[in-house]
């Protein structure tokens, strides 16, 4: 009826998966009919969800087999619990064993308070599983653009991914805006100043500062296109720009190694040295050489993507 595109932001976990994979190719692991629900939420009189807020399984994209996970941001804010975390850990271990690339649609506020210990352990297990998979040559591609953003432990996991794709609505951070305000005061960070929140942790800023790699419109088709591009990139350090396009998933896959980690450490140290004293993202953008920094938040996606390609801090050599 409406001629609007399919919004990634509006879509649920299952709709996102359907938009990314070849039609009918998705097989769910530990699906809702298995009723593997949280053993903890009932104690707090909180309702469970049959898939514990994450959908995981196998599919094909352009006929290439991958493994895929999507968090449901509307259930418990997409937060990690024991079962939720275990499903993702298991998927990543399977990816290593099967040598399949993994796509993760993040939509999470971090760890569930009600399952704090299990959740924190899960984050650590997932980070290890991501790393081991990448060492084995698997690509782990993160997609961020949902209501809950990618916070807390989710932000940490995202930092371990091979490629991050983000839209304007997306946010990546470890600490959330309210917690920053509580700890540092409203003068330092007013969490109700939403423009400030987005300048600090939102998709456009993350793209410009090298915290995300590919910027897309809030459009499921755009996320799919970027995902395909990410699945073709070499799985480890090396210039991406000159790489000839390879069929998805195929080609040289030397994997994550110590050299990559060292390069990433270097990149982060350089970044802090260069931008550490900046008071606001506007200052950073100006330092990047962008004249009209204030225009960035209202800039339409296509124009921003062009600008970003020219001026952004890249992580291509490191991540």
């Amino acid at each position: 009826m409406s001629n609007l595109h399919q919004s990634w932001y509006e879509a649920g976990a299952r709709e996102r998966i359907a938009a990314l994979v070849d039609t009918g190719s998705f097989t769910e692991y530990v699906g809702p009919e298995r009723r593997e629900t949280s053993p903890h939420l009932g104690i707090f009189d909180l309702p469970a969800q049959f898939d514990d807020g994450i959908v995981v399984g196998a599919a094909t994209v352009d006929s290439t087999p991958i493994l895929i996970a999507a968090q449901e941001g509307r259930f418990m804010g997409g937060a990690f619990g024991e079962v939720h975390g275990a499903k993702l850990t298991g998927l990543l271990r399977a990816a290593k064993a099967l040598n399949r690339d993994v796509v993760i649609a993040f939509d999470t506020g971090g760890v569930r308070l009600q399952e704090a210990n299990a959740g924190e352990i899960a984050i650590a297990e997932i980070m290890r599983a991501v790393t081991e998979a990448r060492i084995a040559g698997v690509r782990v591609v993160g997609l961020i653009g949902g209501r809950a953003g990618c916070y807390g432990g989710g932000g940490l996991i995202a930092g371990c991914c091979s490629t991050l794709i983000i839209s304007e609505q997306g946010r990546i951070s470890v600490t959330g805006p309210e917690v920053i305000e509580t700890n540092k005061g409203v003068e330092e960070f007013d969490s109700r100043d939403r423009a400030l929140v987005w300048r600090t942790m939102g998709g456009k800023h993350r793209t410009l500062i090298g915290g995300a790699d590919l910027f897309v419109d809030d459009d499921a088709a755009a996320f799919r296109e970027a995902m395909l591009a990410a699945l073709v990139r070499p799985a480890k350090a090396g210039s991406v720009r000159n790489a000839a396009p390879l069929p998805v998933g195929k080609g040289e896959r030397p994997g994550l190694d110590l050299a990559t980690l060292a390069a990433e450490q270097d990149r982060l140290e350089r970044r802090i040295a260069r931008f550490g004293d900046a008071a606001d993202a506007n200052d950073i953008w100006r330092m990047l050489g962008i004249d009209n920094a204030q225009a960035i938040p209202d800039m339409p996606s296509a124009a921003f993507a062009t600008l970003a390609a020219q001026y952004r801090e890249s992580a291509d050599d490191a991540r």
Binding site: M1, S2, L4, S7, Y9, E10, E168, Q169, R192, D193, R194, A195, W198, G202, K204, P297, D298
Partner: protein, 548 residues
């Protein structure tokens, strides 16, 4: 010998007393409280703006900071009780009596204070009614108003949020009262003159803009499938068959959903140009897609809305604008437009009883009336015919000969059967009745009376009260759209089916609507950002609505 200019003399005394704290008309902000104590008298009738949106906030703070030993027992007459200071003056004894219209933001506190005897209540009014009394028995002796800017003569620019000001100043100034204006800045030349300087006695440069509540922005992201379903029902079951071109939408998600369905669902039904062409309406951002798609010919506004100023100025064919290009709103005239020049009012409420009376008053909250009683009333003084008006009149009274049969304004209550906090919309006894008992009021504060209400729309269907011939039919028609509430479950099923056959009740299926088709893809905009894009970037949403 009787003196005939006592009021003018009193005003002269006040002005003389005030001059000690001012340079000409310009009050020294450092001495605001002393100034107010000098120009006011105990027991004065004071109008403090207190509009629905804009607030003379600096003057309100000054008022609340006065010494109650010097100034006390004021009678406040104001349309909106919005700021904490509006009630602080009652706590301290500076004010004693209150006549007002709307108290949404202070609904809990004002209830406590009324029950606690801290406020002597004159009456709760609808806006136009309160304005009317400014010219009869509630003429303010002092008016504290809010304007955007002033020049050195005291001419005022009130801009998009002109709202109540011309009405307040007219009554006060020409009734020999004192007019004191808070402005954001003093300039050499105003963009336009909204209030002439000889109606204004003192001006305070507050150094910053007056406070404005963003009230009419409804985030499309929060709209539910059920609200979309009620909107589809309204368009197909009411707007289309009655051919409603001139209307007012009350504030709320259901009406905002109707606005967002015009360019999509309305278009599919072929209704462009046939409905929703002329509006008495605040500048709802959710109307932007319909305006851009060519549905709207003209809108007159009660007030403005935060973030909409540039869009309004860029659409002077649609909105009322001054020679400077910015919006000119006027609540009194918009209310009059809604009374006499609109064929439909449609809005939402919190409670409806079995007769069809509706109210927003609950045990602990008194939000007042605002404009709804006026907009949602049949205007018996109306004389000009229109097709929807005549059609409704014929449904209500088929037996009277046509030349003697007045029409009826369509007055529609729309909402889900269960509202906020899963509270049922339909109740046996209105909270308003309990309030009347508690406060010993002559009248229960009813927002829209049963005999003005023509239709009720819920997700279960449309009840046409015009076609009901007795109280029983009315009750069952209401129960028949009351869904799973206790009222709905208590329906006489056989009778409801008979009412359905007579089209007194119409279900979605009867109108060819499948509830499962109601989904968010039908909205012409699904987010605040979509609205901004639809406006070509002219609409600048307030910070709280951003997610970019």
């Amino acid at each position: 010998m009787r003196q005939w200019n006592t009021r003018k003399q009193m005003r002269e005394e006040r002005i003389a007393a005030g001059r000690g704290f001012a340079t000409g008309k310009l009050v020294d902000p450092e001495t605001l409280v002393d100034f107010l104590e000098a120009v006011l008298r105990p027991g004065d009738r004071v109008c403090l703006e207190g509009d629905n949106q804009k607030q003379a906030d600096v003057l309100a703070r000054g008022l609340a900071a006065m010494d109650p030993d010097r100034i006390h027992d004021l009678h406040m007459v104001q349309s909106g009780v919005v700021l904490p200071e509006h009630l602080d003056v009652f706590d301290s004894g500076i004010a004693k009596r209150l006549d007002f219209s709307y108290s949404g933001p202070q609904s809990a506190r004002i209830a406590r204070m009324l029950f606690g005897g801290k406020i002597e209540l004159g009456a709760i009014h609808t806006y136009l009614e309160l304005f009317a009394r400014y010219f009869v028995d509630l003429t303010p002796q002092v008016a504290l108003i809010a304007a955007v800017s002033a020049d050195r003569h005291g001419n005022l620019y009130t801009g998009p949020n002109t709202e109540d000001t011309p009405t307040v100043v007219e009554a006060t100034s020409f009734g020999s009262g004192l007019v004191i204006a808070q402005v954001g800045e003093i300039v050499d030349t105003l963009p336009r003159v909204d209030i002439p300087g000889d109606q204004v006695h003192f001006v305070l440069d507050a150094g910053k803009p007056f406070y404005v509540e963003p009230l009419f922005t409804r985030d499309p992201a929060a709209m539910t499938e059920t609200q979309i379903l009620t909107a589809m029902l309204a368009i197909k079951g009411l707007y289309q068959p009655y051919g409603v071109r001139r209307l007012n939408h009350g504030i709320g998600f259901n009406t905002a959903a109707i606005e967002l369905l015009l360019p999509t669902y309305g278009e599919k039904l072929g209704l462009k140009g046939k409905i929703c062409t002329h509006w008495a309406l605040n500048p709802h951002p959710t109307l932007i897609p319909a305006i851009e798609a060519g549905w709207v010919e003209q809108v007159h506004c009660f007030g403005s809305e935060v973030g909409m100023e540039d869009y309004l100025a860029a659409r002077p064919d649609i909105f009322f604008t001054g020679p400077d290009g910015s919006l000119r709103s006027n609540r009194a005239f918009s209310q009059t437009a809604g009374l006499y020049a609109c064929d439909m009012f449609i809005g939402s409420t919190l409670q409806i009883d079995l007769a069809g009376h509706s109210s927003t008053i609950t045990a602990n909250r008194i939000a007042g009336f605002g404009g709804a009683p006026n907009m949602g009333s049949d205007a018996r003084g109306r004389r000009h015919p229109s097709a929807p008006w005549l059609q409704a009149g014929a449904e209500a009274d088929p037996d009277t000969a046509a030349p003697l049969r007045r029409g009826r304004k369509l007055v529609v209550q729309i909402g889900e059967t269960f509202g906020e906090g899963n509270a049922p919309l339909f109740v046996e006894k209105l909270g308003a009745l309990e309030l009347a008992e508690k406060l010993d009021l002559d009248l229960a504060p009813i927002m829209v009376y049963a005999d003005d209400t023509t239709h009720i729309v819920t997700e279960e269907g449309i009840a046409n009260l015009l076609l009901c011939r007795n109280a029983d039919e009315r009750e069952q028609a209401i129960r028949g759209v009351a869904g799973f509430t206790e009222i709905g479950r208590g329906r006489d099923r056989a009778m409801v089916e008979r009412l359905r056959e007579r089209k007194i009740i119409q279900r979605p299926e009867d109108l060819g609507i499948d509830p499962l088709d109601a989904n968010r893809n039908m909205l012409a905009a699904r987010s605040i950002k979509d609205l901004m894009l639809a406006s070509g970037g002219l609409y600048r949403p307030p910070s709280r609505f951003r997610n970019w």
